[in-house]
């Protein structure tokens, strides 16, 4: 950069800093929103996994054995018996009210039938409308049932004089040894927060990039902006957006630090790779912001498009519903979202700690996004000079 260009850049940069102090939207839209989200999500999911969820019981037997069974249920990690109900109908109503996520029905004569080997059935009802609560409770209840009946089987076999070493082979001939790679506790926060927070970040980057540029067009200050940067749209954009690059990268890295260090979420690679990814991610979304406001140099339209695109990012990241299970067209579209590549890098590096070679192509993909603004330089410059777009 020549000396002239540099001084133009510096002047534009300083001008933007001044502008950022002039309205609350700049502070609120960067530090304000991100800190609110950090506080909200980290406190919201501080448990890691929802434990002790309310369940109900319909104990029609009320015998020592049925009570023992319920005590076992209550001792599991996820279930908390909060209601004693008199019938299936009542329990179902309580479930519809959302007061319990599951209930168990123990028939009368339960104990008597167990003792006389008549194998009474126990039925669990789980509400899977609340998918997370339902799935976790189902897993927990199944596990508990297996344990309880395993203990009973052991007793019976021992009584029959079966050799200790052979008992497990009879109770459970094929057993599974499950390894949860990267997230051994199946922590729910790890699934969500590692992408939700970058998700909010991309939304705010898009919004503020478009706002910072669009407001110049709307309030007809764009000529002044261009003049400050020596009539170079490139310098004008660099000078204007650099403050946001710094702020958002810093905010993103604070997010990384909060997740990996404060919350102790898995980071099996060098954390610097995630810092680098965060930086490239910020720049990629700034570039997309320029692209959008360049295509439609009307602030209102830019904001609306950014809203649409930004919200879709949460879906196309693929962290809730995997991309390859979506319709084929959707899979192609997912490449248009930097958050998709962020997710891939995060999984490879932080979650699995793979060699960085596996992520190089995704890092490069993030860099490719920075080329996009080139297509709208001319258009944006014209808009800045002629101010010939509607401002409403």
């Amino acid at each position: 950069m020549s000396k002239n260009k540099f001084s133009a850049f510096y002047k534009t940069f300083m001008r933007e800093l001044k502008r950022m102090g002039s309205r609350p939207v700049y502070f609120l839209g960067t530090v304000g929103v991100m800190f609110f989200c950090y506080v909200f999500f980290l406190s919201f999911m501080s448990e890691g996994q929802p434990d002790k969820m309310p369940v109900g019981v319909v104990d029609l037997d009320n015998s020592p054995l049925s009570r023992q069974f319920l005590r076992n249920l209550n001792a599991t990690q996820q279930a908390d018996i909060v209601e004693n109900l008199s019938s299936y109908t009542e329990a179902r109503k309580e479930m519809q009210k959302g007061k319990i996520y599951a209930f168990v029905v123990i028939k009368d004569n339960f104990e008597a039938e167990v003792l006389s080997n008549r194998r009474p059935k126990i039925t669990f009802y789980v509400n899977d409308a609340y998918l997370v609560a339902g799935s976790l409770l189902l897993k927990d209840i199944t596990y508990m049932s297996e344990l309880t009946s395993g203990a009973m089987k052991q007793k019976v076999l021992k009584a029959k004089g079966v050799d200790e070493s052979r008992i497990m082979g009879i109770i459970q001939p094929v057993s599974l040894d499950t390894h949860l790679i990267g997230n051994p506790w199946a922590n729910y926060g790890v699934y969500l927060l590692n992408l939700l927070l970058p998700g909010v970040l991309q939304l705010m980057i898009l919004m503020l990039t478009i706002f910072a540029i669009g407001i110049e067009l709307k309030e007809k200050t764009s000529r002044l902006w261009l003049r400050t940067s020596d009539n170079s749209i490139f310098v004008a954009l660099m000078g204007k957006l650099m403050p946001y690059t710094l702020v958002f990268t810093l905010l993103g890295i604070i997010g990384d630090v909060l997740l990996y260090w404060y919350m102790g979420y898995p980071v099996h690679s060098n954390i610097l790779w995630m810092f680098l990814t965060t930086f490239l991610y910020v720049v990629a979304y700034q570039a997309l912001g320029i692209l959008i406001i360049g295509i439609t140099p009307v602030l209102r339209d830019g904001v609306t498009i950014a809203a649409f695109y930004g919200l879709l990012g949460f879906t196309f990241a693929g962290f809730t519903f995997p991309i390859e299970q979506m319709p084929y067209v959707a899979q192609i579209f997912s490449y248009l979202f930097p958050i998709r590549f962020y997710f891939k890098i995060y999984v490879n590096q932080a979650l699995y700690g793979l060699n960085i070679a596996y992520s190089i192509s995704y890092l490069l993909a993030l860099i490719v996004f920075t080329v996009f603004p080139m297509f709208v330089y001319v258009r944006l410059k014209k808009a800045a000079i002629y101010q010939n777009y509607p401002i409403k």
């Binding site: 839209g29 929103v33 909200f40 406190s43 929802p50 434990d51 002790k52 969820m53 309310p54 479930m95 519809q96 009210k97 959302g98 194998r119 059935k121 039925t123 669990f124 009802y125 789980v126 409308a129 998918l131 997370v132 339902g134 799935s135 189902l138 897993k139 209840i141 199944t142 309880t148 009973m152 029959k160 082979g169 009879i170 001939p173 094929v174 057993s175 599974l176 040894d177 499950t178 390894h179 949860l180 790679i181 699934y191 998700g199 705010m204 919004m207 503020l208 706002f211 669009g214 904001v303 609306t304 930004g310 879709l312 962290f319 319709p327 999984v347 979650l351 699995y352 596996y358 409403k392």
Partner: protein
């Protein structure tokens, strides 16, 4: 005579109020359709969003998640395990690897999302009557991979185990009744009530649909108010004569405009879309109506109250779009409501979406009647009352400010 005159004038005044309100209503509807920005939000977005999201999540559950099997046992039994696994709906065997190293390579390049390792002594152990162990390595990048893998491998292990168990017990001379007692002393049955298919769209979409109503109203009303503010025509909102009846007329006229548009949208969003995409829709239409009326009113008054603080057209969306996500979590359909801390639960009660999502979920997914959603319905009516009052105060404040400015 005098009395009836008074009656007449009362009726006339009433009629004139209604007429005035009607004009504000017509005016407001026209205003909405004149503003391209508002139309994009309250018409286009409402139309397109549900179609788009429902299409993306069309596959409710994961089908044939690819896994790789490392079979060091190379026996008929181990092949059976892998064949059974392949036959499940959730998982398919993408390939067989010769060793763990090969399998890891496939895993690292995301070709597969799980590794099944069958050790060399698998068959030997089974023949000796011992417990054979199969190792499962699951991709944890998405909750749904994990669930698919755990469900299918558990199923196969139990299924295969059952046959072997019968053989072993038979060999020991334990048969019939006795055998049943050992293999299953207490039969368990798990019944899934509501969202029986455990579908992802069936779980998420109802909440999204309510959020679409809440958020498009919020941003639509906000943008309309921002425009008015920018063009400095707040006087138009309140008409020329600012008397006591005037302000209510304006508020009710605006409310009526958005209310009638969104009543139509409710049929589309809460009736048509769930039917079209086969999302849960077991709700009674009258119960839905009893919920949707206070929900729309509360959302409109809430948005109008906030709109007073919106200085320009775009600011609200720039700053508050992210809040859609917060609302989704506050509603308690993902992270269960019972596990939301007291503070955040109270905070959630500020927003009509929180009650709205729960109520709609309960009615339409779980078939709840009005008695089961009394809590949510009461909450929505209380919000309607409170936000109506705050709207009135806020509008009065605006007029007062304007008047002062004019006088100066």
């Amino acid at each position: 005579m005098k009395n009836s005159n008074k009656d007449m004038s009362l009726i006339l005044r009433f009629i004139s109020h209604i007429r005035a309100m009607f004009y504000v209503f017509i005016d407001e509807v026209k205003n909405i359709f004149k503003d391209r920005g508002v139309v994009v939000i309250v018409i286009l977005a409402v139309l397109v969003y549900p179609l788009l999201y429902c299409s993306l999540y069309m596959n409710e559950t994961l089908v044939d998640v690819p896994v790789v099997v490392v079979d060091d046992s190379h026996t008929a039994k181990s092949a059976e395990f892998s064949r059974h696994l392949d036959a499940t709906r959730d998982v398919k065997v993408y390939s067989k690897a010769n060793n763990m190293h090969e399998a890891e390579l496939l895993f690292n390049t995301s070709k597969v999302h799980g590794i099944i390792y069958i050790p060399a002594d698998f068959d030997k152990k089974l023949n000796r009557g011992e417990q054979a162990i199969v190792s499962v390595y699951s991709d944890m990048s998405s909750f749904l991979y994990y669930r698919a893998l755990i469900l299918s491998t558990n199923y196969v292990a139990l299924d295969l185990g059952k046959d072997i168990q019968v053989q072993r017990l038979n060999a020991m001379g334990i048969t019939g009744e006795q055998q049943a007692v050992i293999s299953e002393p207490i039969p368990y049955e798990s019944v899934i009530l509501f969202n029986e298919g455990m579908g992802f769209a069936s779980f998420l979409m109802p909440a999204i649909l309510i959020l679409i109503i809440h958020q498009t109203l919020f941003f639509g009303i906000g943008m309309a108010a921002g425009t008015a503010r920018e063009e400095n025509r707040y006087h138009e909102l309140v008409n020329s004569s600012v008397h006591r009846g005037g302000i209510f007329r304006v508020i009710l006229g605006k409310t009526l405009a958005f209310f009638s548009i969104y009543m139509l949208w409710s049929v589309y969003l809460l009736g048509f879309i769930p039917w079209l995409f086969n999302l849960p829709h077991i709700g009674n239409p009258f119960t839905l109506l009893e919920f949707i009326v206070p929900f729309l009113l509360a959302s409109i008054f809430f948005s109008m109250t906030v709109s007073v603080f919106v200085p320009s057209r775009e600011i609200q969306m720039v700053l508050l779009l992210f809040f859609s996500l917060i609302l989704l979590f506050l509603s308690g359909i993902s992270w269960p409501q019972s596990n939301i801390s007291g503070f955040w639960r109270l905070f959630g009660w500020l927003f009509p979406a929180t009650f709205g999502i729960q109520a709609y979920f309960k009615i339409n997914t779980m078939g709840a009647g009005i008695h089961e959603i009394v809590f949510e319905q009461t909450g929505l009516w209380i919000q309607t009352a409170i936000y109506f009052i705050t709207t009135t105060i806020a509008f009065y404040g605006q007029i007062y400010k304007k008047r002062n400015e004019i006088q100066q």
